[in-house]
């Protein structure tokens, strides 16, 4: 049995809509694991990134927006900063995550695509544009929400996104 995480799944209503912080964090945890699993190497490091993000979410829960979409975007903003810390080797390894880390080692994530052309096309974008596209397409954020996560203005994000889309279409002959 496998559990697939996609942008579509991320947009499904969750119990977090009830305003229950615990339920929201439970619901977002699987999405965030997917976010990290798509971006960190080795992939089992996603366990540590996730736990660090959960700790920050709990610590700052009083700032959790009430609207579900904003909550998700806010959570991805934390995840984005944790990812940056991970890339600086600044994420601690918690004993709590041992089992999840082991599972990610023993049961590697099965990639659903081996589309080399698409991989290459995405890789031609600047790192910031790549992340903008991925936040929208993979994580299901709006461009405005993705702009917040990346710390850029919404209109700048829209322009960048439009340009990235043209590049991808051109590269992929779509």
């Amino acid at each position: 049995m496998t559990h697939e995480t996609t942008a579509t799944a991320a947009q499904a209503p969750s119990r977090a809509d009830t305003g229950d912080t615990e339920a929201f964090i439970r619901s977002i945890a699987h999405e965030l694991l997917g976010y990290f699993a798509r971006r960190v190497i080795p992939r089992d490091a996603a366990a540590d990134c996730l736990s660090e993000t959960l700790l920050v979410l709990w610590r700052r829960r009083d700032r959790l927006p009430s609207e579900h979409g904003e909550r998700r975007a806010w959570s991805y903003g934390i995840a984005h900063r944790v990812l940056a810390a991970h890339r600086r080797s600044g994420v601690r390894q918690l004993s709590l995550t041992t089992r999840l880390r082991e599972q990610l080692q023993q049961r590697p994530i099965a990639p659903a695509s081996s589309d080399d052309d698409a991989i290459t096309a995405l890789a031609t974008l600047s790192p910031r544009d790549q992340e903008l596209v991925c936040l929208v397409v993979w994580e299901g954020l709006t461009i405005t929400q993705a702009a917040t996560v990346l710390g850029i203005r919404a209109d700048a994000a829209r322009a960048r996104y439009s340009r990235a889309r043209r590049t991808l279409r051109s590269r992929l002959g779509a």
Binding site: T98, R107, D115, A121
Partner: protein, 253 residues
């Protein structure tokens, strides 16, 4: 890429699809639930102010919980085979040379998935609690303690089953001490007497007495004597010394 039929979008989206095994899904769920416990988060964040709880014990309490404190250290000194097992029951039984006390009960792998069930099953049949204190309260407290010890030991902690029994007995001692204080406050002599009698009967906490590494019985009996004599100050000290407020759900008496 607001056009869902966009082929480029579909191909980029496909790159981001990842599949997690059911085990990964379950472990993520378990991790998330763990973080709902503020104490777990505190341990994870290595917050020294909150971890200071164990350090704050005075000497008398250190005698009582010495086994607990030793646990994290002992946990890394056991056969490696135990760590790889998914079952809490290791099949290894007590060895006085590796234990602070003489205890021949089985070593339990606190990091195993069934460890919480073993903690529940360790509830001693003979344990009696004051009116209004359900066994579930004892189970909740002891489960919390061993979950924390497991975390402190990096998920590789081992504890002897006898230590679990003693921890249940410790909870009961707290419960009866609290009951005595409440009875005293309410001028309920009969209830006071019942609590003092319980506290003075070592047959109520045999595992604690049997594993006495020095001074435990003496300290407990001095508390019982104080209860019998109506020495409220000493009984209050006993209550504080054993961190009974935390064991009994953090309630101020």
């Amino acid at each position: 890429m607001d056009d869902s039929t966009d082929d480029a979008e579909a191909r980029i989206r496909a790159l981001g699809q990842v599949r997690f095994s059911a085990e990964v899904h379950d472990e993520t769920e378990a991790l998330t639930l763990l973080f709902e416990d503020p104490e777990v988060r505190s341990v994870a964040e290595r917050n020294p102010r909150r971890l200071g709880r164990f350090r704050a014990f005075n000497r008398g309490h250190r005698v009582l919980v010495g086994g607990l404190i030793a646990l994290a250290g002992l946990g890394v000194a056991v056969p490696a085979a135990a760590f790889t097992s998914w079952l809490a029951r290791t099949g290894e039984f007590g060895d006085p040379s590796t234990s602070t006390e003489v205890d021949d009960t089985e070593w339990i792998d606190l990091g195993a998935p069934d460890a919480p069930q073993v903690v529940i099953e360790a509830y001693p049949d003979y344990l009696t609690l004051p009116d209004g204190v359900p066994p579930e309260a004892a189970i909740a407290d002891v489960s919390r303690i061993f979950a924390k010890l497991s975390l402190d030991a990096g998920g590789q902690g081992l504890a002897q089953e006898g230590l679990m029994t003693q921890t249940y007995e410790g909870f009961a001692i707290c419960a009866w001490t609290g009951d005595w204080l409440n009875a005293h406050e309410a001028s309920d002599a009969a209830r006071e007497d019942r609590a003092a009698t319980w506290l003075g009967d070592t047959g109520n906490f045999p595992a604690t007495i049997a594993s006495d590494g020095g001074g435990v019985t003496e300290v407990l009996m001095s508390f019982a004597a104080a209860a019998r004599d109506g020495d409220v100050k000493t009984v209050e000290e006993a209550y504080d010394m054993q961190s009974c407020e935390q064991h009994l759900g953090g309630e101020k008496r």
